[in-house]
């Protein structure tokens, strides 16, 4: 499907983070996203997990999807000249496994498999040869390679490319995808999840959320109506929009603003969901100058249209809505835990007793950060 279809999406999102860096297995996030089963339609689900490879945390973990063995071989040839592959292995899966929750038994009744036709799923733990990064930073180098693979190697797709993190995604209901990937056996301090309702075409495995680049991951409910200009803004910076879905621009915009332009995450969120001029005009001088400059300089990066987004990265998790909150998002805290979800029920499902529950204001980011010195 890739390369010839565009997929706007409905969807559910959920995120769990321990700010003290406690790692927990994937059962809770699966349970949370499973509750929102009806917000998806079985055409895509996925998870991002941070802290899952502590023993290989200094290596880039590439989660790859290959259409066939030829694509895999071509990609490995490509890797060999560009990386030191320390370890590569199949990503463990449980074909035919279905989520045993309130939707259990439906596949037996219908006589179908929950997850069918997966691509070859392989992960590579890789180092970068020193000679390769004489003129570019490690991370810039990885970004270049990811863009290269996605756009030039037919049938090969990078699902994630960060350190000590990974994306697990595919076509199916998210809870079944979680079981398929045996997420109960991974431990992470941040989990994000996505259930997908693409509205006009069948999903393909690479097109499921989260979208990842380096350690950035995005799960997104909504549609980016400003996609056209966001894409044109990103292209001269070397980003290639190959996935035919609006969500990828969000991941690339964060990469550009935070990694390359060095903006604090709060300000990057202000770029993507800027305050209105009526509010800017009333701000105190310093804030007004900052907000005005952001809109003047980064207007083409403004995300317009309905969205609720959870951004995951190594040091935290950020949730935010579009400027007029056309998609739902609820946040909650309990001890060191931060929760974000499309629905409060999906939080209560796994943490009935909460210290605080709130719906963030339109355009106002909710920022979770790992405590100093953790991980």
């Amino acid at each position: 499907m890739r390369g010839n279809c565009y997929i706007p999406s409905g969807c559910s999102v959920s995120g769990i983070m321990s700010e003290s860096g406690r790692r927990q297995d994937g059962n809770a996030i699966i349970k949370s996203i499973a509750l929102m089963h009806d917000r998806a339609n079985g055409l895509g689900g996925g998870f991002a997990a941070y802290g899952i490879y502590p023993r290989r945390s200094d290596l880039y973990a590439f989660h790859m999807m290959f259409d066939d063995i030829v694509a895999k071989e071509r990609c490995e040839e490509h890797f060999k000249d560009r990386f030191d592959i320390v370890l590569d292995e199949e990503i463990p899966t449980r074909p035919g496994g279905a989520y045993e929750g309130m939707t259990a038994g439906r596949y037996d009744e219908e006589g179908v498999q929950p997850i069918t036709d997966p691509p070859i799923l392989w992960r590579y733990f890789m180092d970068i040869p020193e000679a390769k990064t004489k003129f570019v930073s490690d991370r810039e180098y990885v970004v270049e390679k990811v863009m290269e693979i996605n756009s030039t190697i037919d049938g090969a797709f990078v699902a994630s490319s960060g350190k000590n993190m990974g994306a697990f995604k595919g076509v199916g209901y998210p809870e079944d995808i979680g079981v398929f990937y045996k997420l109960g056996e991974y431990k992470a301090y941040t989990w994000t999840a996505h259930g997908r309702f693409p509205t006009n075409t069948p999903g393909w495995w690479g097109g499921a959320h989260p979208f990842c680049l380096l350690d950035w991951s995005i799960v997104h409910n909504g549609e980016i109506s400003s996609y056209g200009i966001n894409k044109r803004y990103l292209e001269p910076f070397g980003y290639r929009m190959e996935l035919r879905t609006d969500t990828e621009v969000v991941a690339y915009l964060f990469d550009l603003l935070v990694r390359r332009h060095n903006l604090p995450i709060e300000l990057a969120a202000k770029v993507l969901a800027s305050p209105f001029w009526v509010d800017i005009d009333r701000m105190p001088d310093r804030e007004r100058r900052i907000a005005t400059a952001i809109r003047q300089v980064y207007g083409s990066a403004l995300l317009n249209g309905p969205f609720s987004i959870i951004l995951g990265h190594s040091r935290g998790m950020v949730g935010f809505n579009d400027r007029i909150k056309l998609r739902p998002m609820t946040c909650a805290r309990k001890d060191d835990m931060l929760y974000m979800s499309s629905e409060e029920s999906a939080i209560r499902e796994i943490a009935p007793d909460l210290d605080e529950v709130w719906s963030p204001r339109a355009g106002t980011p909710v920022i979770g950060e790992l405590d100093e010195g953790v991980v």
Partner: protein, 505 residues
């Protein structure tokens, strides 16, 4: 030897004598001397230019003007106009002179572009209930912002941003010089620009001192004749524009005949009363891009780096490369003027045959600046042939920061596009210096009509944004994904960067 003209009348003026009550209002209103009164109104058809002044002001609606259809034997190659032009040249031996923009049947690409709208998956937004932002800033922007965090955790901005001009609506008035148009036109434009939060443009004839209080809403132009240019003039502005070319007459200078240069124009242009004001085709101090850069920086020095400097060029074949050079030469704003752009006077052969459509020029310039990574370094203003808010929205989607309305603004003030601007007889008091005609345009009324026009366009643009599901103009700017082409060949679509209608995202 003076020849008797053999030209037939272009129009026929019909008077309904049953209705006419002989008030002579038509006689008084006709500035072309077409209407005579003996015992009743007798039109001299040959002098009629179809400016519609008499028709509009006849209290009995007793006048109709029609084309003189049956003057020639039908021939698709030798149109009546072609034949008449040959006769004119045979009689005079001169260059045919015309006013206003290219009227020929070239494709109008705006009419082959359609705008997207939201359905279901992304909601449209009701502009009457939700904020809808049109605020636009013209000027050079840095590629990125740098911030610093103080010891107590306060974040502040380090990057110095060059001067920006704020527009409340992304449309500015076109450059029309005092001299080509009347002072009342300048007054109307200045008052309307102030009221609507936008800019008027002096054109190349300087700024009358009476309008200095409007400095915050004025683009002052520096053209090849340097008329009215002095230090105070440059500093009495929101922005300075170097005019290299004009869409209606690329590569051609200008000529204001001496008879129009009265006392006030003489003072404003700094030339003797009654002397011709001739703008050379090139600036005689700009023979290269380095020379242009020198002038840009000379102006920046003269204005203490407080004003953005714009360079206006006409849309010609190599416009993208030229624009790129201009941005690199230091221009903060680039105005591209298409071949539909208006003029007070131009040789017909130039107006009708030189230049390229603004749609293609705009698309090429925006794409080129993006590919070179310098799009943020300059704003793009799109001029020449913007007829309505639909054209404006499409121009912004192709990549313009703002558009220009020149002809449309004149029409709002009364112009009927009769294309006789160069005669100085404008019956609507616009392109004339005859005091009795100038008086016909009341600046209060003119400015109100202009503000109404901009208010209407703003409302319409907000409706378009709302239907697109975005609430800010920057999400439309350059978003060609929201346009589709109909009836365009694949090369044109590629140049416009637009997909054909029927193709999804």
């Amino acid at each position: 030897m003076v020849m008797t003209s053999e030209l037939p009348p272009e129009f026929i003026v019909k008077i309904d004598y049953d209705r006419c009550r002989r008030c002579k209002r038509c006689v008084m209103n006709c500035s072309f001397g077409c209407m005579h009164f003996t015992d009743r109104v007798v039109p001299e058809h040959k002098l009629c230019v179809a400016c519609q002044r008499c028709v509009t002001y006849c209290p009995e609606h007793a006048i109709t003007i029609t084309k003189n259809e049956m003057a020639y034997k039908e021939n698709l190659n030798w149109s009546p106009e072609t034949r008449q032009n040959l006769l004119k040249q045979a009689e005079t031996g001169g260059i045919l002179l015309v006013g206003m923009g290219n009227p020929r049947d070239y494709p109008i690409l705006w009419d082959h572009l359609l705008i997207d709208a939201c359905q279901v998956t992304n909601p449209s937004i009701d502009p009457l209930r939700e904020p809808m932002e049109l605020r636009t800033f013209l000027g050079r922007k840095p590629d990125r912002l740098e911030f610093v965090e103080s010891e107590d955790g306060e974040i502040d901005i380090v990057t110095e941003i060059e001067p920006q001009v704020r527009l409340d609506v992304p449309v500015v008035f076109g450059a029309m010089s005092y001299g080509a148009v009347s002072l009342n036109v300048h007054r109307s434009l200045a008052m309307a620009a102030k009221r609507s939060g936008t800019l008027m443009n002096t054109g190349e004839g300087g700024l009358h001192r009476e309008l200095y209080p409007y400095s915050g809403n004025v683009i002052v132009q520096v053209a090849s004749g340097r008329f009215g240019v002095h230090s105070e003039y440059l500093n009495t502005s929101a922005m300075v524009e170097i005019k290299i070319g004009q869409g209606a007459k690329p590569g051609i200078g200008g000529h204001l005949p001496g008879e129009k240069v009265d006392e006030e124009i003489s003072k404003t242009r700094m030339i003797p009363v009654g002397s011709d004001a001739i703008s050379p085709a090139p600036h005689h101090d700009i023979y290269s891009i380095e020379d242009l850069s020198q002038l840009i920086y000379a102006i920046k020095e003269a204005t203490d780096y407080k004003k953005p400097v714009s360079v206006k060029i006409s849309a010609v074949h190599n416009v993208a490369a030229i624009a790129s050079g201009i941005v690199r030469a230091g221009a903060d704003v680039i105005t591209i003027d298409g071949f539909r752009g208006g003029t007070g006077a131009a040789p017909m052969v130039i107006r009708d045959n030189v230049g390229i459509p603004i749609e293609l020029a705009l698309a090429a310039v925006d794409e080129r600046l993006r590919n070179e990574g310098i799009r943020n370094n300059a704003s793009i203003i799109c001029a020449g042939g913007i007829r309505n808010s639909g054209d404006m929205a499409k121009a912004i989607a192709l990549g313009a920061d703002a558009v220009v309305t020149g002809t449309a603004a004149l029409v709002a003030m009364g112009c009927r596009i009769c294309q006789k601007c160069y005669t100085g007889n404008c019956a609507w008091g616009i392109a004339t210096q005859r005091p009795e005609l100038v008086r016909r345009l009341d600046p209060q009324v003119g400015s109100e009509r202009l503000s109404n026009l901009l208010a209407a366009w703003s409302l319409e643009l907000k409706e378009i944004l709302g239907s697109l599901g975005v609430n800010s103009i920057e999400s439309l700017r350059g978003s060609r994904e929201r346009l589709r082409g109909v009836g365009l060949d694949s090369m044109t679509l590629e140049l416009l960067g637009v997909k054909p209608a029927g193709v999804g995202q």
